[in-house]
Each structure stands twice: as C-alpha cells, then as structure tokens.
C-alpha cells in the first residue's frame, strides 16, 4: 500500500490517504499523492517538503529526501503516544521492534528475510482457511482453545493447518493459534531491545484485534494501538519533512536541494 500524509506548517493533518502500490512495482505512488493533494485542495507546487519512506522510498522521484521507516515510525508513534518506549511494527513485508527514548529512535531490530511473523504470514494462510484478512481478528475471539502452531515457517505452518482442517479443528482455534505464532515470534525478536512500557503496536497487522490480544498476553503488558496504524510511518515522514523544511527556513537555506516533479517512480538500476 502507498500512504500519504500532508501536514500544514503547524503540523495539522490536511490530508491522509491509503492507496494501492500496485503489482507493477511502485508505479502508483504519484497517483496516490495526486489524490491526496486533490483531497486537501492543494497543488503539488504548494508542498514545501516531501519525505519518502518504506521499501519504496528510493523509487520516489518527487521526494526531497528518503528516510527509513524505522525513524519515521518512531517519529509518528511518538507524536501520538509521547510516553512510548517500545514500538512494534508488523506490516506486510516485515516486523520491527523500535526502542524509543524521548520521542527518538535509539535502537531497533528487524526480522530476517522470512514471511513468518509478518502480515504476509496471515495473508498466505487466509487462502488456506478460506477467510478474508479483515475478518481474522473477530473470528479468533470465538476460539475456545488455541491451536499450537509449531513451525515458524509460513509454508510448513500451512501444512500443519491443512492437517488440522482435515481433522476438523474449528477455524477460530486455528486462527487464534496463528495470532499466537506471530506474537511469539515477534516478541522473541524484540526482546533483544529489553521491552519497556509504554508499548505501542502499529502497522497493518495492528488492525487485527486477535494479534493485539496475543501480543498483550505474550508480553504481559498493555499495548496501545493508533487509530490508523497504517499511517504512522507516513505521519512520521510528514513530521520529519516539516522539521527539515522549518530548519532550512530558519537557517535561511533553500528548502529544496533539487527540483521535484510529480512523476512515476524510477526503478532500481539493473546492472
């Protein structure tokens, strides 16, 4: 997904939008941006500063600067939850743990190149279960017991689930088991950061109440979730962009280092 947040000079949100990234690499970033501008009734020339973040950050030609989603999530989350000390971001591609002190990122961990413990894990397994990703949370609440998923590998977990389906294990129990598997894997990883409250959970998977509960249980701590967990990275990027623009203005420097065009993204150079 491509997300856009546009802030005004005071840091007030003018427009926030979640659009598709599209299967053809990342061709749609400029279109989502155009939609967000239209909603705020703004022209691109009126935008002072653009920060691109996330996996596609280096493909956005109309950005002044690219900053990793690690720094952007920390910034966005801290603006919403000033007391945050640990943030967990589980998205479609990966899972991250962020250690935040006084609103700033001080350490982080990221999962390896493996789908287990990410949104992709659920994405792959809903197909096997014949469910939609957005109904998993509710369904898991009906579980009477949690199916223990022993494998941390997405493909092997799928085989385990198929075996349980054939034995007639109720769907809610399987789904609750999947949520537990994600929580266990992610908590194991972020323990390296020495988890301290307040804990905030963000990213697409934070919309799943089942994973929120599983995380709280595994951590033994309360977990806060932003109203729009998909947007904390974009919000952080916008906040950092605002700071950078204001800093340049205060120092009397030009805000843009290059001319920006609202074009289709460019791609990695292929050797």
């Amino acid at each position: 997904m491509t997300k856009v947040v546009i802030l005004d000079g005071d840091g007030k949100t003018l427009s926030a939008l979640i659009g598709p990234t599209g299967p053809e690499h990342r061709r749609l970033a400029n279109k989502v941006m155009a939609d967000a501008l239209a909603r705020a009734n703004l022209a691109f020339s009126e935008i002072s500063y653009v920060v691109a973040t996330g996996y596609g950050r280096i493909n956005v030609p109309f950005a002044d600067r690219q900053i990793t989603e690690l720094t952007c999530h920390a910034k966005g989350i801290a603006s919403l939850f000033p007391a945050v000390r640990t943030a967990i971001d589980i998205g479609g591609q990966d899972a991250k743990g962020l250690k935040i002190r006084n609103g700033k990122l001080v350490d982080f961990v990221m999962n390896d190149r493996c789908a287990a413990g990410t949104g992709r894990f659920l994405d792959v397994l809903v197909g096997t279960l014949g469910l939609r990703i957005d109904e998993l949370g509710e369904i898991s609440l009906k579980a009477t017991q949690k199916l223990p998923i022993s494998s941390v590998c997405t493909v092997f977990a799928q085989m385990e689930i198929m075996a349980c389906l054939s034995e007639g294990t109720p769907l809610p129990d399987i789904v609750a088991g999947l949520h537990d598997a994600i929580a266990n894997r992610v908590v194991k990883m972020i323990k390296k950061l020495k988890i301290e409250p307040d804990v905030v959970f963000t990213g697409g998977v934070a919309k799943n109440i089942g994973v929120v509960n599983a995380l709280q249980e595994t951590l033994g701590l309360n977990v806060s979730v932003p109203a729009e967990p998909l947007l904390t990275g974009a919000l952080g990027a916008a906040l950092l962009g605002r700071e950078l623009a204001l800093k340049a203005l205060a120092e009397g420097k030009p805000v843009h280092e290059k001319e920006l065009r609202l074009d289709e993204p460019t791609f990695f150079k292929v050797k």
Partner: protein
C-alpha cells in the same frame, strides 16, 4: 601486452573483474600458479619459490549451482561459492593448492577440494588455533614441512637468503597498503571503500612485487585526482567476514556514509601485520601469521591460563586495535557484517558489541548470504543505523 599498460585504479578494477587474467599470462610464460585458501599459507614462501600466489575467493554475483551436488546448503556460503567456482573450472589454471586449518569449515573444505579438484600439488597447512609458544613452534614446524613439499614439487632448494628477500618484498607491499589506507583518514577519504576492495582483490590475484607496483600507481593517482569520493555525513569502520565483492560496501556508501576503515581479511587484517626479520625467517613468519593476524579463527585472550578474568581487560586485549582504528580513521560507527553461518565471527560478535558499547562507539550487526542480489534488505538496517547515530 596492451592489458598491462592500464594503470592504477583502472587496472585494479580490471583485475577485480577478471581475476585470473594476469595469472594465466604468467602461467603461459612458464610460471607456476598456486591457489591458496585463507590468509595463512605464507605468501613469502610462494614468493621465494617464484610461484604466483592466487587467493581462492568466491563470487557473490554467481549463483551456486554445482557445489550443492557435493555439499549441503547449510554450510558457509563463501566456501560453497569458492568450491562452486572450482567445480566450474574457474581455477583450472592452478598448478596446485595450499589449504589450511583456517576455521573448521576451511579444514573440511580442504578435503572436498582435494577430492573433487584433484590438484597435482596439494598441501594442507596445519594452523594451530592458539598463540602461545608451543603453538608457534608447532606452526613453525608446519611451515618447514610446507617448504619441503614445495621443494620436492619444484625441484628447487630454498635458501634462507631467498626467503629473507621474499620477506622484504612482502613487507614492502604491506607498507604500501598502510600508505594507501592512510589516504582514507582525510575527510572525504581520497579513496572509497568500494575502490579499496577492488585494489585488495587485485593484489590477491597477482605476484607480490607486481602488486606493489600497482599500489604505487594507485597511491599517486588518488593523491592527484580531483574526482575522488564526496564528503558524507558518516565515516564507518567495517568489521567482519571476508568481503571480496564491492556490492555491500557500495550499498553502504550509497546511503550516506564513507567506509573509511576495515577489519576484514581482504583488507587491513591481511596486510597490516608486518614480518619481523629474524635469523631464521620462519621464526618471524610463524609469529606474524599465527599471532599477529587478528582473525576470530584464532583464540586470543588477555591472560593465557588465567582463571579469574577481567572481562573488560580481556575485551580490550582482543579488540583494542579497533578502538585505535576508529580513532585514527575518525570513524563514528562500526558495521559488524557476517556471512551467514560464520561461526567464528558469530561467536566473537557479542564480546565485540559489548566492547564497542563500552567505549561508546555506535555499532550494528548485519548478516548476509554472500549473494549480491540479497543485499537490499540490509539497506534499511544500515540507513536506519546511520539515522539513529545522527
């Protein structure tokens, strides 16, 4: 001989991209070319026999296809890659190979190499893993044996004078490498981390004296040029497993940092220790190779046999040189990189991170599969690390 006319960095890049070209030329002229594995087969001994030493490396850009037929996939990908190249015939120009007990896998790879590649000369150099006096004596004895097998193979008797000459030749190259590394101390450095790898890989593909000529050309070239590396917000020290490919450093240098110093075996670890000239050159050589090369494959500790250890003192003894590197080259962060499944580096990582944290040097550990294509996920980690050190 138009190829040889290319100089300095262009020549280094050419040798980096096509490592065997010069060795094959020399072979055609009648010289012997010997492949060697890891840093321990003594370069001075090859040089004294007028043998072209050629370090066996892998290729991060080449998918491993043949090695999987003789090795499981859960072993060191660097060794798998080197073996893969061997199986594909890329090292067919060798007249022989010298393998060594570098690490456990290095030792096992020696067997595999001998069985599958069947070189006409093969020697396994038993390299102790500790540095105390009996180990040095043992290693010296191994070097004597190694010299004898080469005497038998070449039909030439080696004099101490010849070996002493070779010590001087190799030391001269090491002084030049230091001189080149000194040019990384300025901000911006006069030579990039990417270019350094090209030069170091080139050095490991040609005779030592030719390498020194190349170094001299590179040194004058980078001192004079005006289009060297740009100043960047961060200066990094890179520690870890073998890096014989520019892709990783290029990625790091593209996200806002210059790699200004390294501690890897295709870098300072291979060239900084000097050989002290001794009456019997093998004394100086065994000390330099076994004790002074600081590779995690060797067990180093502050007080040998001391059962009540001071952890920080021990770390200082093992890793203190990295503090000096960071200070002299003015690095503001350290990237600890490891090829997946590298036990020797993996086990040194916790102590090294404790030490770096103790001295307040920001650091991050990253691991990779020894594959060019799989580096993209590391970009976010490295860039995130640079963002949090400010």
């Amino acid at each position: 001989m138009t190829v040889k006319e290319k100089k300095g960095l262009v020549r280094a890049k050419e040798l980096y991209q096509d490592r065997s070209q010069r060795a094959k030329e020399l072979k055609a002229e009648g010289k012997k070319v010997m492949g060697y594995f890891c840093l321990y087969p003594v370069l001075e001994i090859f040089t004294a026999f007028d043998i072209v030493p050629f370090r066996i490396l892998g290729d991060m850009g080449e998918p491993i296809t043949k090695a999987d037929s003789c090795l499981p996939t859960i072993v060191c990908p660097f060794i798998r890659s080197a073996l893969d190249l061997g199986l594909k015939g890329r090292y067919d120009f060798f007249d022989g190979v010298v393998m060594c007990h570098s690490c456990e896998v290095g030792e096992k790879a020696a067997h595999i190499w001998r069985i599958y590649m069947d070189p006409s000369y093969y020697h396994f150099l038993d390299t102790p893993h500790t540095v105390h006096a009996p180990a040095q004596q043992q290693f010296k004895g191994q070097l004597e044996d190694y010299q004898k097998t080469l005497e038998a193979f070449t039909g030439k008797k080696l004099s101490a004078g010849k070996l002493q000459e070779a010590v001087a030749t190799c030391n001269k190259q090491r002084v030049l490498v230091r001189e080149l590394y000194d040019l990384r101390k300025s901000d911006p450095p006069l030579i990039s981390g990417t270019e350094i790898i090209e030069v170091m890989v080139a050095l490991m593909s040609i005779p030592v004296a030719e390498g020194s000529d190349l170094l001299q050309q590179v040194i004058s070239e980078v001192k004079e040029r005006t289009d060297g590396p740009q100043k960047k917000p961060h200066r990094l020290l890179l520690w870890g497993t073998v890096i014989d490919n520019t892709a990783l450093v290029e990625m790091i240098e593209n996200v806002g940092a210059n790699v200004v110093m390294d501690d890897t075996c295709v870098g300072s670890r291979a060239y900084f220790p000097m050989v002290e000239p001794t009456d019997n050159p093998l004394d100086g050589l065994s000390r330099r190779y076994l004790v002074d090369i600081k590779c995690p494959r060797t067990f180093h500790e502050a007080a040998y046999g001391d059962t009540k250890k001071d952890y920080i003192k021990d770390l200082e003894y093992r890793f203190g040189y990295l503090k000096d590197f960071a200070k002299e080259w003015n690095a503001d962060g350290v990237i600890l990189q490891s090829i997946r499944y590298c036990d020797i580096h993996g086990y040194d990582t916790p102590g090294l991170q404790d030490y770096l944290n103790h001295i307040g040097l920001p650091n991050i550990y990253i691991e990779h599969d020894y594959s060019e294509g799989a580096l993209a996920p590391l970009r976010t980690r490295v860039q995130g690390f640079l963002e949090l050190i400010g």
